[in-house]
């Protein structure tokens, strides 16, 4: 396992840094979030740039659907930079979560027509699934993970009932995917549905309601179905393939969140070091005080440890994703992803808090950026892997299985 970035990986990283430093700097982010009530909550120009120009929407998708055919490490490189810059684009929800769900629930070639359009950045998709799910192997859609949306058969169609409390990207996505539990003779079977929101707009039986949030950098919506009619054509996959595919998609997304948090934590450290070197009190830069040095050093310890964990897990996940879809996921690969997930929650929250503290009074202002990271860190600690749930799942895997 060689952690040295290849030339291609360095180019992706450098391109990400350049584009985002220019087009997702603090001012750009604030323009988006301060227009939150009126606007969509994301930056369409930046999305176009990342999707169409840089081809990032297809980064992990196979070449035969127009993607770059790259892997988890490349995704992590991109996510780290997106997190560092708090980029207001639906990359996580569309390119990571929804695209992975389509790809792994349907498989090739069934998924291809959908993936082609996603790869081009032509459409955005979002997946309505509970955001605080980070399943242990084979726990997806099992007894304790019944989807919150139910699908009742009605002739050849389905009537969807239920809600998902917090969904990313749903207010502006073209496609709304969802996991519903279909009642069959033998129990409840998970199914993946895709609803084209451009066609269903105006149907009152599907409500997508934007929620006011503390973290303004990622719009969240409540999605509610009340006897919404979905046809059998809209049901794209069913059964074990959905359970397995959703599991893969959630693991990929969980690691993507961890990578994004890594980037955010790095930004908190960078801002803090810059500030403390400039801020003079008692006749010297406050960066020269040992207490300040040590706190920054502790941030760096957490960040570099997290970097090793996230990239290590990314290599491990790539190994898994290269193996056949039906292959049982080795528990240790899942454990690596889970470990990265839980650790990232704590490192990012720690660094955001330290950034506020070490910026002194300015840390408490709206104008300075530590507050944006504080809120993103707090919110993201619940996305696709909360710390207590993840640690307990890890313990169950490590300790309770023979």
């Amino acid at each position: 396992m060689d952690f040295t970035l290849s030339l291609e990986q360095q180019m992706i990283r450098d391109a990400a840094i350049n584009v985002l430093a220019t087009h997702s700097d603090s001012a750009a982010v604030r323009r988006i979030i301060e227009s939150v009530s009126a606007g969509s909550g994301y930056d369409p120009a930046l999305w176009l740039r990342l999707g169409s120009e840089l081809g990032w929407c297809g980064l992990m998708l196979p070449e035969d659907v127009g993607g770059s055919g790259l892997g988890t490490v490349e995704m992590v490189i991109v996510m780290e930079q997106l997190g560092r810059h708090l980029a207001c684009v639906p990359y996580l929800s569309s390119a990571c979560l929804a695209a992975s769900a389509l790809r792994h629930c349907l498989g090739a070639p069934a998924a291809n027509p959908w993936l082609e359009r996603l790869a081009r950045g032509e459409v955005q998709a979002s997946l309505a699934v509970s955001h605080n799910v980070f399943p242990a192997p084979n726990a997806c859609c099992s007894g304790d993970r019944i989807p919150s949306i139910s699908a009742q058969c009605d002739g050849n169609d389905f009537l969807l009932y239920g809600q998902v409390a917090q969904v990313f990207g749903a207010t502006h996505s073209d496609w709304l995917l969802l996991i519903a539990g279909v009642t069959t003779g033998s129990g409840i079977e998970p199914a993946l549905f895709l609803i084209d929101q451009t066609l269903s707009a105006g149907d009152a039986r599907l409500k997508v309601r934007r929620l006011p949030t503390l973290d303004l950098t990622r719009p969240v919506a409540a999605v509610e179905f009340d006897a919404f009619r979905a046809t059998s054509e809209q049901r794209l996959a069913t059964g074990d393939a959905v359970a397995a595919g959703l599991e893969r998609a959630l693991w990929i997304t969980g690691l993507a969140v961890a990578a994004e948090q890594l980037g955010g934590a790095q930004r908190c450290l960078d801002m803090t070091v810059t500030y403390t070197k400039e801020r003079v009190q008692f006749g010297r830069p406050i960066a020269s005080f040992q207490a300040v040095k040590h706190r920054c050093a502790q941030m760096m310890v957490g960040i570099e440890a997290l970097r090793s964990m996230v990239y290590g897990a990314a290599y491990a996940l790539d190994t898994l994703l290269r193996s056949p879809p039906a292959a049982n996921a080795p528990a240790d690969i899942w454990l690596d992803i889970a470990a990265a997930r839980a650790m990232a929650n704590e490192v990012y929250a720690f660094c955001a808090q330290e950034a506020i503290q070490l910026h002194g009074g300015l840390g408490f202002t709206w104008e300075h950026d530590p507050q944006l990271h504080l809120k993103r860190a707090r919110a993201s600690a619940l996305w696709f892997g909360s710390t207590p749930e993840t640690l307990e799942s890890m313990a169950a895997t490590l300790l309770d299985r023979a």
Binding site: V292, Y311, A339, L391, A395
Partner: protein
Amino acid sequence: MMDAIAMPEMNTAEEQLRTEVSSWMTAHLSGKFSPLRYRGGPGDEDAFPALRKAWEQELASGNWTCVGWPKEWGGREMPIMSQVIVQEEYARAGGPGRMGHIGEGLIGPTLLAYGTDEQKHRFLPGIRGGTEFWCQGYSEPGAGSDLANVQTRAKQDKVSGDWRITGHKIWTSLAHESDWIFVLARCDPASCGNRGLIFALVPLDQPGVEIRPIRQLNGGSEFNEVFFDEACAAAQNIVGAPGQGWHIAMALLGFERGISTLGQQMQFVRELEWVIDAARANGTINDKLIRQRISRAWTGLRVMRYNALRMLSGVGQSQLQREALIYKYFWSNWHRELGELAMDVLGADANIIDAADARRTRLQNLFLFSRSDTIYAGTNEIQLNLIAERGLGMPREARG
């Protein structure tokens, strides 16, 4: 859990090497060497010193010492990843702590890089063959974190060219079991700080050397004080030039990182398994907080593994290795926390000594010995200074 630590991808050559090491270890770490299994590691270095020296010779005869060294000096010129594999399989098989580790890992590479041909011929075979043992004479009562403050003096005899060493070294591990000591001393009496220092190779068995053990809080005494009273270092046994001592001493410390860390991690895996076994035995394994702490401890093992692989990936590159800067701070604090977890799992038994309960004893020792992890080889406070200064470019500490 040990299996979970295997690398996700192994090619045939790597698998073969693993099998080669593990078979050799199974065959040789047996019979009279059986008592050495899992012994002699940090905190247990009082264990079986004579037998462990004999084991060094056993390893040497199997060509498992100094595997990364040049072939002309008895090495096998193994690439880094192969050395890592040898370390890992050695540890996995329960290989005892290496009496020869200071020779093989520190002074040997230093001589290879900076020694004269005469020094190489005189000293490298003894290290390679497991017949001559070394300890490190750096710290002094007045020169711990501030190593440049060494006061031990080296004075050259104008006639013979030999040097007379007078002073006092402290925290010298295994001095009482060693044959030679390398000493950082001051050869220019007018100098201060890291200038005017000399790096001398000194035989311990001579009238001017006295070794006194120091009792540690865990009851053992692997540390010593070494007193020098006009002890002799031969003229040809100075490494580098007089005045260049600091440079040599720092270069030696630079050889410390990387490969041996993966072997250390095998031991950490084993220790976590002991903690888990203890928790299973007394039911604390069902305690929610204990379970979370075990998951965190496991996470730390994975961090260390990937961090070490990252360090090894970067070998040879001149860029700042951030992962190398944080490594010692990370593992030492992880280990200290593991010691605390161990005692929390033991609960009321933690304070009671029961020599018949081997696991309890090991966990108690782990707790006690790990108090030193955040002190030796650079205290937490010094590590954080270094991270801030070298990693983040923050201003250096003012000196008095």
